[in-house]
């Protein structure tokens, strides 16, 4: 079976869940071969093996993480040329898609983004227009480069002992054009990452102010979920932009999405419509969010949300 390259997404050696999802998907399509770029591989080896990485290409040259995106694409391009993998899977994050873009140009390959599943023949399923249309597409030139949206595949343990191979690549001057001088990791506290979380609780215009977001946070924490916000809430400065869910923010696809005080304008729906189960609390019975919900309560969020938090606590 042919190798499927999986670019490992990690922050300073901590493997992101999407990597395990990509390994699972890769092993359905061929043989997963992880590509590690940066320091910290030692601490991640077991985790990659546990989820089926039969092989790992390790590129720990610090130069490869000192510049924006280009070195990672250069390394992957070298592996594509030397190893002829059947496909390359990357996470459909901002950076993952940029790596895919550069790799596509370098290798003259087609690239598919925001893919939610891949089947035989590398036919990729996309959810487009905010979940309104399901499209299948394939690459017909070069090596399929596929950016898979986090939370689309359930990671399955498939213990393997990774065969390690050290690799590197010679960088061109253009690859060094944009230097990363500092990496600023913002305190995210105890909550899971928004795009990776199984449960997301978001607040919108109805929350009414920054101080009231503690209600959203309290509900999220009772469920071990992440906090999101609608554009109305982030534009008003009630919650940081990083947490915006929607057309111009993050796209999330959790098992459970709870929309609190969010009307459900298309802007917001485009970012959460593919969530598996949707619950909403809104005082307006006509709010479009109710067209999407599995369970909705028409009522005052300041009554309903705290009561829900309390009820969840009682059941724990």
């Amino acid at each position: 079976m042919a190798e499927i390259l999986v670019l490992v997404d990690h922050v300073d050696g901590e493997v992101k869940k999407v990597t395990l999802e990509l390994l699972t998907l890769a092993n359905r399509l061929g043989e997963a071969a992880a590509v590690w770029v940066g320091p910290g591989f030692e601490g991640a080896r077991d985790r990659l093996g546990e989820y089926g990485a039969g092989k790992v290409y390790v590129a720990d040259d610090p130069e490869l993480t000192s510049y924006v995106v280009a070195p990672k694409a250069a390394l992957l391009a070298k592996l594509v040329n030397d190893r002829s993998p059947a496909a390359v899977l990357v996470p459909a994050t901002g950076e993952g898609k940029e790596i895919a873009g550069r790799l596509a140009v370098r290798t003259g390959s087609g690239v598919l983004t925001d893919v939610v599943d891949v089947t035989d023949g590398f036919v990729a399923e996309h959810s487009v227009f905010g979940g309104g249309v399901i499209a299948h597409a394939r690459v017909r030139t070069g090596t399929p480069i596929i950016a898979v949206r986090p939370n689309s595949v359930t990671p399955e343990p498939a213990p393997a002992t990774p065969a390690e191979e050290a690799v590197t690549v010679e960088l061109a001057d253009a690859d060094r054009a944009a230097k990363v001088v500092e990496k600023v990791v913002q305190e995210k506290g105890e909550r899971p990452d928004l795009t990776e979380a199984a449960i997301v609780v978001s607040g919108g215009r109805g929350v009414g102010g920054a101080e009231n977001f503690s209600i959203i946070e309290g509900l999220a924490d009772s469920l071990g979920g992440a906090v999101g916000a609608s554009r109305a809430a982030t534009d008003a400065g009630w919650y940081p932009h990083t947490f915006q869910v929607g057309q111009t923010g993050k796209t999330v696809s959790p098992q459970l999405y709870i929309a609190v005080g969010i009307s459900g304008a298309i802007q917001h729906r485009a970012g959460m419509q593919t969530s598996k189960t949707i619950v909403a609390i809104n005082k307006d019975p006509e709010a479009p969010i109710f067209e999407l919900v599995d369970f909705g309560v028409v009522g005052d969020l300041f009554q309903v949300a705290p009561q829900l938090t309390e009820e969840i606590a009682k059941r724990r």
Partner: protein, 259 residues
Amino acid sequence: MNIVVLVKQVPDTESPRKLKSDDGTLDRAAADGVINELDEYAIEEALRVKEAHDGEVTVLTMGPDKATDSIRKALAMGADKAVHLVDDGLAGSDALQTSYAIQQVLGRTGFDLVILGSESTDARTGLLAAMLAERLGVAQLSLANKIEIDGTSIKAQRQTDYGFDRVEATLPAVVSVVEKINEPRYPSFKGIMAAKKKPVETLGLADAGIEAARVGLAHAATEVVDFAEAPPREKGQIVTDEGDGGAKIAEFLAAKKFV
């Protein structure tokens, strides 16, 4: 400074968006066209760079005739002139081809800085900035929520999943922006009137030196196999709060094993 801002016309997200049944490409005629929202932030940033460092802002648009409306709006906001790449041969181009076509036009216009929105609301691939930087062999300062230019040096804050990176480069560069970067201005009445007199150069494939065999649906590196409207979600249960709304949600979540 020669600043080129890329502006795409996209279907209004408020109007129904469809794929065409014959070839699976976006039905651009079916919906109202508007400037891709993030491109307005790109235009604003281009104008701010011009205001601080002098120079000229050129709008570059690839798209059908009706994209002229979006070009006029960008000019009304304050851009100086525009180049409109329009040719039937471009229809259905994927990101790889689009980046090639734009590279060819940038070869004509020249540039110190190319600014674009980090993604469009229609395809949402987020690929173009990286592809262009790769093709042009210049610095990629993408997903920027802040930029600072001093002479030929440029610094940016690049938004990441964990926070941000501080990145630096020497011009020329390709910059893609996220909405946190600024607050786009509205065109003034004066701006709207002035825009009518600003030059818009229209280019076809041959004018721009674009090989016809490298663009368009028939030569795309990707193809749509099939598509369908997503099945509508099953109608959920909606109740009106009678003092026990929270408890009812908790019951629902328990039945679904979330708690």
